[in-house]
């Protein structure tokens, strides 16, 4: 057991950046559609594999990211319009359906890419380390943190500065009333689902470059994302950011100080928060 050093704090922060990217999509879908999308982890992993393949074939990291986002958004579209639309309003059926889809996606990934571990190739300028006042820290992990912050800013602008964003927020508050005002809320649901899925694809590609891709990586990220969203509160972007920071830091603390209790260090505080704020830090009753 030892104290946290700057390196480990940076590990926590950069992991939080990735967690935010993945969990922001999760919380958007959870907040608006009221669906606990248990396929979100599988979308992350599948997106990672797609990103790996595209990035390897083209030799272009950005192409890998875009390819993964597009493919996962399309899978999100099929999931929402092809399957979930038939069980709208039935929470348990939705959850079970997304769980089933998670199994199918994971098996498909196993068939296509096998059980080997892959690492998404990153461009030359993101390799190596930078010297941060005496600590040599991987450039790529700093890039992930910066990307997480960029995604936060872009999503914040989308939600708070555009009409679509205002409609999404209104839908999180009261989807039925939005529909009664002449807005096709199903279309807003679909766009949000595709956006949330695309964020999982982005997370998979970016995460696949430093956490690597392997079968069962999906459930690990899903459990972390659930913790982020539960701590932050359903549908709250700021909540997801704070939740990601907490989970990222607690994960570092856990790994360094209490390696045998790593999960407890995350889920213990989560349970404590829920005891006092059952809707999460920024959650609101429907």
């Amino acid at each position: 057991m030892g104290a946290l050093n700057a390196f480990q704090i940076l590990n926590g922060l950069t992991f939080a950046g990735l967690l935010f990217i993945v969990a922001s999509g999760f919380t958007l879908i959870f907040g608006l559609l009221r669906i606990v999308n248990l396929a979100h982890g599988a979308l992350y992993l599948f997106g990672g594999y797609v990103g790996y393949t595209v990035a390897s074939l083209t030799g272009n990291f950005v192409a890998g990211i875009l390819g993964a986002m597009v493919v996962i958004a399309i899978i999100g579209f099929v999931l929402d319009q092809g399957l979930l639309r038939f069980v709208r309003g039935y929470e348990l059926r939705q959850v079970l359906l997304t769980l089933g889809v998670a199994f199918i996606l994971n098996d498909m990934a196993l068939v296509i890419w096998g059980g080997d571990t892959f690492t998404v190739p990153v461009p030359e300028f993101l390799r190596g380390a930078v010297n941060l006042g005496g600590i040599f820290y991987p450039k790529y992990r700093l890039f992930v943190l910066a990307l997480g912050i960029a995604v936060f800013i872009l999503l914040w602008l989308l939600l708070n500065r555009t009409r679509l964003g205002a409609l999404i927020r209104a839908g999180v508050d009261d989807a039925e009333t939005v529909a009664a005002m002449g807005i096709n809320i199903r279309l807003i649901f679909m766009i949000t689902f595709m956006l949330g899925a695309a964020l999982a694809g982005l997370g998979g590609t970016v995460g696949g470059a430093f956490l690597t891709l392997y079968p069962s990586a999906d459930s690990e990220i899903l459990v972390f994302s659930l913790a982020v969203v539960i701590i932050g509160g359903r549908g709250s972007l700021v909540g997801a950011a704070i939740g990601a920071l907490m989970v990222g830091m607690l994960n570092s603390v856990g790994q360094v100080m209490f390696p045998e209790l790593a999960y407890f260090v995350i889920f213990g505080p989560m349970a404590l928060i829920l005891a006092f704020r059952p809707l999460g830090l920024f959650g609101r009753a429907a």
Partner: protein
């Protein structure tokens, strides 16, 4: 303009609307009265295409077209707006956003944000406040303003006076009368008979899901006893 006939609506196995029929003509203000639990809100929700309830029979015609079974956004787009029970404002939207999400500021026809603020000056002062930060009267004004943004020809108001101070109820009556004068059809759900009579041309009374009384407001004013027995007021 709106013709509801023999409507049958259910909440689960509870048969809440049992063959209700009513009409609202163009530019007419109609009050729908009845005690709590008689199905007034269920009837409004059925017209608006909101589920629950589950509508299993009857017809709702709008300008001759059957609108039963259409999604509620389609019904709204045909010109029917709702001021829902309990206002149902969007907690995370500002006053201005409540209006601009339904009609972008670039659209200059019909009800615009500027016109709404002119009609409800109080809301203009509160434009940056969020739904949850408004007083009861302001919330009600915003719920009405929001409904107007879709340029309706008919507005369904479900107990707009509920929870308002007497002076605000008076203010609301004035607003409804002004909307009526502007040519808007109104179907007003009320528990308060006198509030309803202040604005309505005609009155329906709903009891256990059926229309049991139907009269001109002037007839009711001449002979209020015939109506009050249904409402349990004396």
């Amino acid at each position: 303009m709106l013709e509801v006939s023999d409507l049958q609506s259910f909440y689960g196995s509870a048969h809440v609307i049992q063959g209700a029929s009513l009409t609202v003509r163009e530019k007419e203000a109609v009050a729908l009265l009845g005690r709590n639990g008689m199905g007034k809100t269920t009837l409004i929700r059925s017209i608006m295409g909101l589920a629950p309830p589950d509508v299993r029979g009857g017809s709702v015609k709008w300008k001759g077209e059957e609108i039963l079974g259409l999604p509620s956004y389609q019904i709204a787009r045909r010109g029917i707006a709702i001021v829902p029970q309990g206002r149902r404002l969007f907690q995370s939207l500002t006053v201005t956003e409540h209006l601009t999400t339904l009609k972008p500021e670039s659209v200059k026809t019909g009800w615009t944000v500027a016109k709404a603020f002119e009609f409800f000056p109080r809301l203009a002062e509160r434009r940056q406040h969020r739904g949850g930060q408004l007083s009861g009267g302001e919330r009600q004004m915003l719920a009405v303003a929001r409904a107007l943004m879709i340029d309706p020809e008919l507005i369904l108001m479900d107990e707009p006076s509920e929870g308002l101070a007497p002076v605000m109820v008076q203010n609301l009556e004035d607003i409804i009368l002004e909307l009526k004068r502007s040519g808007l059809g109104i179907l007003l759900v009320e528990q308060n008979l006198y509030s309803a009579l202040a604005v309505a041309d005609r009155v329906y009374v709903l009891e256990t899901g059926r229309v049991v009384y139907d009269a001109l407001a002037s007839e009711v004013e001449a002979e209020p006893d015939r109506l009050t027995k249904f409402l349990g007021v004396h």
